[in-house]
């Protein structure tokens, strides 16, 4: 069990999303950075979709009421255990009584904390993700508060083997990190001001020639009016070549829609299921982690790729991930 001493800015339980209910208007929710979410789970010996804690910008203070195997992936929010810095993107065994704290937003802005067995919260509509606006799912349908107690589920065999190995390493220290982590070429480079690859949106051709050029040649700032639903961007106004009312249709994670004021909005995990604004672009799935790690004040620039390239990039990454999963499994089974 993990106790919440301080909740941080916005810490909520998320899995990979509530699928199957979007036809009823129920939003998908889920991790903003699904890649980091999956990696955190793999390194804790969990299933990829297990619920983890999504931590935003200012992290929480947590105390461990029992020995726990964890992993922290995603943005580097300077985590430390009992005052000692702890590395991200690896398995960490934490002894009972330890305190996990976060500090400065060093790189990115969202960290994912997985605990072996996953956080034990009830499933609502096929998912354990928190749907903040409807107060549903996750931990009591809300972000964490001081005093909350997070139970973890039954650890997998893999988690137990990882724990067994790391227990031997911990000796007299209060925590132990694995001596191997995720290869750096697999970790998305979440530098500030990333270049994000996009494909053309369905209404791309309705925009003026000038706006089409500006989309790809100007930087757009992530404004403070950005949240899990979407990032509101500021840059040159993107305008239609002539006014045209759109008919509402489905939107997706990473859809870039443009309201009449010309300031684009990139839709994210808590997006509505449908939208009526024209979509000028669509962020390639492979670059969603870069987007999710951008924080207010950062600027984004967009580079166009084809739909074929976008899918091929995604397939390439997933194939590497498959190898990595096998690698983790073999290392763990072989007692590291």
């Amino acid at each position: 069990m993990i106790k919440v001493v301080k909740p941080g800015l916005l810490s909520s339980i998320q899995d990979l999303g509530r699928t199957g209910y979007q036809k009823f208007g129920v939003i998908a929710s889920g991790a903003m950075d699904p890649f980091s979410h999956r990696m955190a789970n793999l390194l804790a010996g969990n299933e990829e979709n297990d619920p983890v804690l999504e931590i935003t910008m200012m992290g929480p203070i947590l105390t461990f009421e029992e020995d726990t195997l964890i992993s922290i992936c995603g943005g580097d929010l300077s985590p430390s255990i009992n005052g000692q810095p702890v590395r991200t993107w690896r398995s960490v065994f934490v002894k009972k009584g330890s305190e996990l704290k976060f500090g400065r937003c060093h790189k990115g802005c969202r960290a994912y904390l997985a605990a072996a067995g996953g956080f034990a919260v009830p499933e609502v509509m096929n998912s354990k993700s928190t749907y903040l606006r409807a107060s549903l799912g996750g931990y009591k349908g809300r972000a964490l508060k001081p005093g909350d107690l997070l139970e973890t589920g039954k650890p997998s065999l893999q988690s137990l083997k990882m724990t067994e190995y790391l227990t031997k390493q911990s000796l007299d220290r209060t925590f132990a990190e694995n001596d191997w982590g995720i290869a750096s070429d697999l970790i998305p480079d979440t530098a500030a001001n990333p270049e994000i690859r996009i494909t053309r949106g369905r209404q791309f051709d309705l925009f003026s020639n000038e706006s089409k050029v500006q989309l790809l040649n100007h930087a757009f700032e992530v404004t403070a009016q950005s949240d899990r639903m979407g990032y509101r961007l500021k840059g040159p106004a993107l305008l239609l070549s002539e006014h045209a009312e759109q008919i509402s249709e489905a939107v997706n994670f990473g859809s870039i829609q443009v309201p009449p004021d010309g300031n684009p909005i990139v839709l994210l995990a808590d997006r509505q299921t449908t939208g009526g604004y024209p979509k000028i672009g669509q962020v390639a799935a492979v670059d969603l982690p870069l987007l999710a790690q951008a924080k207010p004040g950062d600027t984004l620039s967009f580079a166009e790729i084809s739909n074929e390239q976008a899918q091929q990039l995604l397939i390439n990454r997933e194939m590497k991930l498959k190898e990595l999963k096998q690698g983790i499994f073999l290392k763990t089974r072989g007692g590291n």
Binding site: T19, G20, Y21, Q22, K23, F24, G25, V26, I27, V124, M125, R133, A134, L136, T199, R202, I247, S248, E249, A250, V251, N252, F253, G254, S255, Q272, T273, T274, G275, Q282, V283, A284, A285, V286, N307, E308, A310, Q311, Q312, L314, I315, E318
Partner: protein, 236 residues
């Protein structure tokens, strides 16, 4: 059935079945979704129907593996084509008729008088017109179970508020332009509020989590404040 296919990100195909909002296009959307409900393809994760489109979400990696190396979008399109071509517009299931009781005016409908004045009629006439119409749910979106409804009389149309309210209580019935709708959960919004229903539109613990779905027909029924409270209590 005429249609076009478009990518919607790397894990969805948008199927466009018409260019304008009409009962005819709605019928096509209904036929396709009825088919997807009855025979969900194994590669499909879920679908979102809208006025003129149905978007199907899939797992691109599973599709890639099933296809022996074809690009997921191309592969999924090759499976969708024969499926749509076999459909006829009569495949849609019979519409469900849902009666929604509404307590009009008063505290629940602070803009009823405005809607009446705007149209040069009495509040009673607004209620009479609103509750005697027959409405069609074209699509669900915006919020869980929020219906986009067609069929409202022009006689009670009213513009949105200049400044949206920060909080509109759940189950409030409103009018915006030529549309009428019901807010299933508390949200900010700019609609003119004319009443409230005691019936829950969003029921997350039920197997079917929303009262309404695309294709339903709605009839509003005017009820008294007493009936409202009686009904609301029964809903809890």
């Amino acid at each position: 059935m005429r249609y076009t296919l478009h990518p919607l990100g790397d894990d969805a195909v948008l199927i466009e079945l018409g260019k304008e909002i009409s009962q005819e296009t709605h019928q096509k959307v209904q036929s396709l979704t009825a088919f997807l409900e009855k025979h969900p393809p194994e590669w499909m994760i879920e679908y979102i129907p809208a006025y003129t489109t149905v978007s199907i979400f899939y797992n691109p990696i599973e599709a890639y593996q099933l296809s022996n190396g074809q690009l997921p979008f191309d592969f999924v399109c090759s499976l969708i084509k024969p499926l749509i071509e076999e459909l006829t517009e009569n495949d849609a299931s019979e519409p469900q008729i849902v009666e929604i009781p509404v307590c009009y005016g008063g505290e629940f409908g602070p803009d009823l008088d405005f809607v009446a004045e705007h149209n040069g009629i009495t509040p009673e006439e607004v209620i009479e017109i609103h509750s005697s119409g027959s409405y069609l749910v074209y699509m669900i979106g915006f919020a869980p179970g929020f219906p986009f409804i067609g069929g409202m009389s022009e006689q009670i149309a009213a513009p949105r508020r200049d400044t949206p309210r920060l909080k509109i209580p759940e189950r409030t019935v409103g009018i915006a332009g030529m549309q009428t709708g019901i807010y299933p959960i508390e949200t900010p919004g700019g609609w003119q509020l004319i009443g409230r229903t005691p019936v829950k539109l969003f029921r997350p613990m039920d197997e079917s989590p929303t009262l309404l779905k695309a294709g339903d027909k709605i009839k509003f029924k005017s009820i008294s404040l007493e009936e409202y409270y009686h009904w609301e209590e029964a809903e809890q």
